[in-house]
Symmetry: C2
């Protein structure tokens, strides 16, 4: 089973990387772009056929290692 | 309109960051995890109501700035 994990900064947490991208886009004359936020995207294969068990395992991975839950949210898609 | 962009390394391109995550997961006793790949995830708001135009604009941004199309693929979702 494949897990696709999106890790994003929580609303209200400053995102200097996103701000830098926003500035770069403006300097390349892309106008009307706002609220740029950069996060992480992780794909992994997990040796588990049961969706519930796989979800629980990936949740544990996110909480223990992949995301910093103080400042980040994560979203898991299993395919 | 909100654009959600996933940027991933192309198949065959070495991903040391993914390998590091794989090693860290193994050392935390998460077994059965394979093929970890790390990419980038960017969210932005675009001042455009027409989906086709917005897609074209975001594609241009990806090709010019956000993704390195020699080694990376990108995927755009508009919501």
């Amino acid at each position: 089973m494949k897990a696709k994990i999106k890790i994003t900064l929580k609303r209200g947490v400053l995102d200097p990387q996103g701000k830098a991208i926003e500035g770069a886009l403006a300097s390349l004359s892309f106008t009307g772009v706002d609220n740029v936020r950069q996060g992480k995207y992780i794909e992994l294969e997990i040796d588990e056929t049961d969706k519930t068990k796989a979800k629980a395992k990936v949740d544990a991975m996110c909480q223990k290692l992949l995301a910093n839950t103080v400042i980040e949210n994560y979203e898991v898609d299993l395919v």
